[in-house]
């Protein structure tokens, strides 16, 4: 909806629309936050995998070194 189209809407209706949109927005934000937290909890459930991943330090370093050298060539 463009700005010009708002001019044809009554103030009362516009207020109603703002209220409804704000409510929808906050509900959507809540849902996003909920999903975000859920995702975090789910990652923590796989903590063992992350601990394993954290142990591949040297392998990571050499893989990175190779990648950087590859980029240089």
């Amino acid at each position: 909806m463009s700005k010009k189209e708002y001019e044809h809407i009554s103030t009362k209706r516009l207020r109603k629309l703002v209220k409804r949109t704000s409510k929808t927005l906050s509900e959507m934000q809540e849902e996003l936050d909920r999903r975000y937290l859920e995702e975090q909890h789910s990652e923590i459930d796989h903590l063992e995998d992350h601990l394993d991943e954290a142990e591949h330090g040297l392998a990571n370093f050499f893989a990175f070194f190779k990648e950087v050298m590859g980029d240089k060539k």
């Binding site: 975090q40 991943e53 990571n60």
Partner: protein, 387 residues
Amino acid sequence: MTETSQTDTDNLLSQTATATFLQWLGIAILVYLLISAVGMIGDGFKGATSGQADELFQFATNPFMGLIIGILATAMIQSSSTVTSIIVGLVAGGLPVETAVPMVMGANIGTTITNTIVSLGHVRVDKEFRRAFASATVHDFFNVMAVIIFLPIEILFHPLAKIGGLLAGLFVGGEDMSVKGFNFIKPATAPVIDAFSNISNMIAENVASILLIIFGIIIIFLAITLIGKLLKKLMVGRAKVIMHRAIGKGPITGIFSGAIVTFLVQSSSTTTSLMVPLAGSGVFRLKQIYPFTLGANIGTTITALLAATAISGETAVFALQIALVHLLYNTFAVSLIYGVSVLRNMPVHGALWLAKVATKRKSIALAYILGVFFGIPALFIFITNQF
């Protein structure tokens, strides 16, 4: 449930209980070896220097040199707990506390290399790499900042050493000058220390003290590594509970949970490294990871405190003093830098900037790691030796 399956379940439960018991027994033995090894370093150092430890470490009386020794040693063995435990042993052997304080600060910086290296594993996806690298280097920036603030103050006024000494005096005392409540440690660790002393004497009598120090360092390193591995298995469930509870809460909870998880796994490198993939995937934001990382700095100080309980005699108070300095330094640094909003955001901005630059040119990340942890310290040692 049939009778056979019930028996199978019972057997499985009993096997799990036995395995858990054995793992805890293993940890108890390793802790015993750890504190014995700290005692070995103390005794070996005393013997090697014949009470002239301050002369031997004359080169490290320059606090910047001490700092660099701490950085290099920790970066090389990737364990600040090992280095701080060794420092506790050296202080027990006569190394002056003032000389040891910058080394402890250096160990804090050196330990950050581990999670930075872990972040390199995300090199293939730029966005992922940027997030992972920033989450790792925020710890570097924080620890460097802490040194920039606290080292000059310590050089000038020695507040950490003074408060540490004061507190250590409260815990250490009595006729035998051993840690109150831990007087049994010395006789308990004596068999291991004596055994390794004898072995050292058998190998080479003239360098027996040096060998004792080397044995001590090896045992500390192995014990801390194995304790970490066992605790990871045993404590992962509890760590999960703590982290689940911290999600969605504020930064203070983040700091506490970081400290507790680190205490449980006895390794700040593990705690900070495990956050890197979580940041890389974008599930956790840098602002959530940052306080958790700071908690790791505090949680890791427990190992040195444990190591200090191994020492008795007249140097026990100094051993505990340096362990308390480690705790105080990290607690003060977190309180000050995270407590003051202007300072709080500096490591975040620094890490985000570096990650952005390093994502564009990966060689910068490599240069950063080699430069900060090895190049600059080595260059400083070279320059100091020249003048």
